[in-house]
C-alpha cells in the first residue's frame, strides 16, 4: 500500500471517529480506535528479507488497552472463555485468576484497569469478537515509537530513559486505570508505562532471548522468512519486549501482560 497523503489521512481519521460511538472512549465494550497512518518503518530488529525498512499499511489501533470491564462483557457473551470452562490449551490455570469469580471482577480487578492474566488465545478471541485482531509486532512497534509530539522518538535518549524506567521496575503495586497517560502523536495511550501487550505474531519473534547469539543464529530456531536479530543494539526497551514475548507460550498469562486490538483500514 502506498503512503496516504496527509489530507487523505485526515479524512480517514475523521471518518473513523464518526464511525465509532464516542461513549466507547471510556466505558464502551469495543473500545475506541485511532487511525495510525502507515509508512515505512525502520525496525529495531534486523530482517534479512527487508532492505529498506518494514512497510506498514495504515491501520486502526485501540486507543487504550482492553480493560477488565471490556473483557468481562466478552466472557459473559462467550461463556466458553470463562476461566472455569476454557480448555487449558487456550489458557493456563491462572487465566483471569485475579477476578473474584468467572464472571465477576471483584476488588483485585477494577473495571477500568487493563486486563492482565490473559492468554494470547483469549486476547485473539476477544479482538475477533469485535471484528478486529491483535496488532502485528511491527504495527505495535510502529505506533509505540511515537512520543507525545513525534511519530518516531526512538533516538531521543530522554524518551528511551522514560520507557526503560517503567520496564525495569517490578509490578508490585496496583495497576492504574487505562487512559491516564498523555496520548502519543497518533492519539494512542498507554503503549508504554502500563502493561506489556500481546501481539498477534508474537510467536514468530525469532530473536533469541539470549542476545549474545546475535550473528550466530542457531539455525534450528529459525524458519522461513529468514533470521532476524537486533539491528539497534541500543534500544533496550525493544529488546526487553522481544525477550518478554519470546519467553511466552500462547496459553500463558502473567500479572502485567495485557493487550489491545487493531483493525485493517479499508
Amino acid at each position: 500500500m502506498n503512503q496516504l497523503s496527509l489530507a487523505g489521512l485526515g479524512r480517514l481519521a475523521a471518518l473513523l471517529f464518526l464511525g465509532m460511538p464516542l461513549a466507547g472512549a471510556l466505558a464502551g465494550e469495543s473500545g475506541e480506535y485511532v487511525a495510525v497512518p502507515g509508512g515505512v518503518f525502520q525496525s529495531a530488529l534486523r530482517y534479512e528479507d527487508v532492505k529498506d525498512g518494514v512497510r506498514i499499511a495504515s491501520f486502526a489501533l485501540m486507543r487504550a488497552p482492553v480493560t477488565n470491564e471490556q473483557l468481562l462483557a466478552f466472557v459473559k457473551a462467550n461463556p466458553a472463555w470463562r476461566r472455569d470452562r476454557v480448555p487449558s490449551v487456550f489458557a493456563e490455570s491462572r487465566f483471569l485468576s485475579h477476578w473474584k469469580g468467572p464472571v465477576e471482577l471483584g476488588p483485585q480487578a477494577l473495571p477500568q484497569q487493563p486486563v492482565t492474566w490473559v492468554s494470547w488465545f483469549a486476547a485473539g478471541a476477544y479482538c475477533e469478537a469485535q471484528g478486529a485482531r491483535l496488532p502485528t509486532w511491527s504495527e505495535w512497534e510502529f505506533a509505540a515509537a511515537a512520543d507525545e509530539t513525534r511519530t518516531d522518538a526512538r533516538r531521543d535518549p530522554a524518551w528511551r530513559e522514560r520507557i526503560l524506567d517503567w520496564y525495569s521496575r517490578p509490578s508490585t503495586s496496583a495497576l492504574p486505570r487505562v487512559g491516564l497517560q498523555a496520548p502519543n502523536a497518533y492519539g494512542v495511550q498507554d503503549l508504554h508505562g502500563l502493561v506489556w501487550e500481546w501481539t498477534g505474531d508474537f510467536s514468530s519473534l525469532l530473536v533469541s532471548g539470549d542476545n549474545r547469539n546475535q550473528g550466530d543464529a542457531d539455525d534450528t530456531r529459525f524458519c522461513g522468512a529468514g533470521a532476524i536479530s537486533m539491528k539497534d543494539n541500543d534500544d533496550y526497551a525493544v529488546m526487553m519486549r522481544v525477550a518478554m514475548l519470546s519467553s511466552l507460550e500462547g496459553a500463558d498469562a502473567t500479572a502485567n501482560l495485557g493487550f489491545r486490538c487493531a483493525k485493517d483500514l479499508p
Binding site: E161, P170, D210, Y236, A255
Partner: protein
C-alpha cells in the same frame, strides 16, 4: 578416604554453625600440583544415594563444605526477584536478583555432582530471566534451557565436571542491563577431596552500577543505559550496596584464624584489582581455578571471573577490602571491612610508636638559625656569625650528602671543602659552584675529581651567601664573607664553560 559417615557428621557439624573442626582434611593435592585433567576426569559416574537439596546462602555467607565422598544428585532452587533496595544511604535502585540479594545466593556442590537446577521467576516480576552458570558444560551454560517468563519456572540438569569457583549470571536480552542490575553470583564446585579446612569463609562480589543521578544523589535512581554503554559507572560496589560490609556488617574474624574469601566480579564492565589493605594473601587460587599462587598483594579478577584467597590473621584491627583501582574505592564505594579481634601482637606489628614532626634534614633547631639570619639580613644587621650559623643549617641539607658533614668529601669522588687549596686560592668558588655547577676534571689538594656538580640555583641569594660564608669559615679554610649582593652578582655571571 574418609567413610561416608564421617563426612556426613562433619557436614552436620558445620551446618550447625561450628565453623571449625579439629580434624584436618588432607591437603588438597590436586589443587596445587599436577594436572587434574579437567572435565575429562570430572565424571565420577551416576549420582548415588538420595537427592540432596543444596543449601543456598546469602552473601557474605558461604554454605558449609559438602562433605561428600561420592557424586550426588543435588537440587538447586533459585528464585529471581526484582526488588527495590538501597544502593547507598538514601538512594534506592531497582535490583534484579537471584534469591533476593546482590550478589545472588552462593551455591556449593562437589565435582561430579549431578545438579538439577530449578529457576523460578516471581509472578510480580516484569522481566523474563534465565541463568548462565560458568560451571556448566553445555551451550549457553544453561541460558536457553532456563529462559523463564514471570510467574513461571524451568528446570535443567547438568553434571559439574570441572572443579573451581564459577560465576553465574542472567543472560536474557539486554544481557548487560540484567547483569548491571545485579544478576550474578557464585557457584563453588569443590574438588573431590574438598578444599583445605579454614576457620572462616566469606562471599564477596564486586559489581559496577549505572544510575542516572550522580554518586550518592538521593532518591530512587533509574538505570542509565548510556553510562553503562560508555562504561562510566556511578557506583563500584562489594555486595550490591555501599556499606554492605562495613560498620556492624563488617566481616568478622579473630586473630589466629585463617580466612578464605570467595571473591567474584559480576561486572558488567570493570575488571577489579582486588586487594586487602594490611594483609598479604597467603594463597590465591587465581581465576578460581585449581592452582594457587602464594604471597600475593593484589589479584586481578576479570568481569565474569572469580578467585579464592586465603590468609591467616596475626594482628587485630580493621582490614579494608578495596578495588585498588583506587578511585573506585574512595569515590564509587568499592570498600568493605574485615574486622579481626584479638590481643595485640606487637612483635609483628607495633602500632604507632612515634609521632612527631618531620622536616627532612632541615631539622627544627637549625632552621631557627636560618630564620634569624633572614630577619637580620632584612634589617641590615646580619653578622658573619649569624651567616655562619644559618649556612651550617643549610649545608646540612643537600651539600653534606656529597661533601659530608665535616667537609671532607669522598676522596676521588666528591672533592673536599675542608682545608681546600682551591678555596684558599679562589674564595669565590663555593658560591660560583653552587650557582653554576661544575663540570670537567678538577684537582683539589692534589687529587683529581671528575664528578659533575649540578647547579643549585634553586637556592636564594641569601642561602648561597650563608652557605658560602659557612664553608669559608669552617674546617681550616681561610675565612671571609659572601654577601647577598655578591651572591646575586655571581648568579648573573655567565656560567664558566
Amino acid at each position: 578416604m574418609k567413610s561416608l559417615m564421617t563426612c556426613l557428621a562433619f557436614a552436620v557439624l558445620l551446618a550447625a554453625g561450628c565453623s571449625r573442626d579439629s580434624s584436618t582434611s588432607p591437603d588438597a593435592v590436586s589443587m596445587n600440583s599436577g594436572d587434574s585433567s579437567g572435565s575429562a576426569k570430572g565424571d565420577f559416574g551416576p549420582p548415588q544415594g538420595e537427592p540432596v537439596k543444596a543449601m543456598l546462602t546469602s552473601p557474605p555467607n558461604v554454605p558449609p563444605p559438602t562433605g561428600r565422598s561420592a557424586p550426588a544428585k543435588v537440587i538447586v532452587e533459585l528464585e529471581v526477584i526484582e526488588k527495590e533496595m538501597a544502593i547507598s544511604e538514601g538512594v534506592t535502585y531497582t535490583f534484579w536478583t537471584f534469591g533476593g540479594t546482590v550478589p545472588g545466593s552462593f551455591i556449593r556442590v562437589r565435582q561430579g555432582d549431578t545438579v538439577e537446577f530449578h529457576l523460578m521467576n516471581a509472578p510480580d516480576n516484569k522481566m523474563p530471566h534465565n541463568i548462565d552458570l560458568h560451571g556448566v558444560t553445555g551451550p549457553g551454560g544453561g541460558a536457553a534451557s532456563s529462559f523463564t517468563a514471570p510467574g513461571h519456572q524451568s528446570r535443567f540438569t547438568f553434571k559439574a565436571l570441572n572443579a573451581g569457583l564459577f560465576v553465574y549470571h542472567c543472560a536474557t536480552a539486554p544481557v548487560g542491563m540484567h547483569v548491571a542490575n545485579g544478576m550474578y553470583g557464585l557457584m563453588l564446585v569443590e574438588p573431590p577431596e574438598g578444599l583445605p579446612v579454614v576457620d572462616r569463609e566469606y562471599y564477596v562480589m564486586q559489581g559496577d552500577f549505572y544510575t542516572t543521578g550522580k554518586y550518592r544523589e538521593k532518591g530512587h535512581q533509574p538505570f542509565d543505559m548510556q553510562k553503562a554503554i560508555d562504561e562510566r559507572p556511578t557506583y563500584v560496589l562489594f555486595n550490591g550496596s555501599e556499606g554492605s560490609l562495613t560498620g556492624d556488617k563488617a566481616l568478622a574474624a579473630k586473630t589466629g584464624e585463617t580466612v578464605r574469601l570467595y571473591v567474584g566480579n559480576g561486572g558488567p564492565n570493570l575488571v577489579t584489582s582486588f586487594h586487602v589493605i594490611g594483609e598479604i594473601f597467603d594463597k590465591v587460587w587465581f581465576e578460581g581455578g585449581a592452582r594457587f599462587q602464594e604471597n600475593v598483594q593484589t589479584t586481578l579478577i576479570p568481569a565474569g571471573g572469580a578467585a579464592m584467597m586465603q590468609f591467616k590473621l596475626e594482628v587485630p584491627g580493621s582490614y579494608i577490602l578495596v578495588d585498588h583501582s583506587i578511585f573506585r574505592a574512595f569515590n564509587k564505594g568499592a570498600l568493605a571491612i574485615l574486622k579481626a579481634e584479638g590481643p595485640e601482637n606487637k612483635a609483628i606489628y607495633s602500632g604507632k610508636e612515634v609521632d612527631e614532626m618531620y622536616l627532612g634534614d632541615r631539622a627544627q633547631p637549625n632552621l631557627a638559625a636560618v630564620a634569624t639570619a633572614a630577619a637580620a639580613a632584612s634589617s641590615g644587621k646580619l653578622t658573619v656569625a649569624q651567616q655562619i650559623k644559618a649556612g651550617q643549617a643549610l649545608f646540612a641539607g643537600t651539600c653534606s650528602t656529597c661533601h659530608q658533614a665535616d667537609g671532607r668529601g669522598l676522596e676521588g669522588v666528591f672533592p673536599p671543602l675542608a682545608k681546600s687549596d682551591w678555596i684558599a686560592r679562589e674564595p669565590e668558588i663555593p658560591a660560583t659552584a653552587m650557582l653554576h655547577g661544575l663540570q670537567g676534571k678538577i684537582t683539589v689538594n692534589g687529587k683529581d675529581y671528575t664528578s659533575v656538580m649540578p647547579p643549585m640555583s634553586q637556592l636564594t641569594d641569601d642561602e648561597v651567601a650563608n652557605i658560602a660564608t659557612y664553608v669559608l669559615n669552617s674546617w681550616g679554610n681561610p675565612g671571609g664573607r659572601v654577601t647577598k649582593d655578591e651572591a646575586a652578582e655571581i648568579r648573573k655571571r655567565p656560567p664558566a664553560k
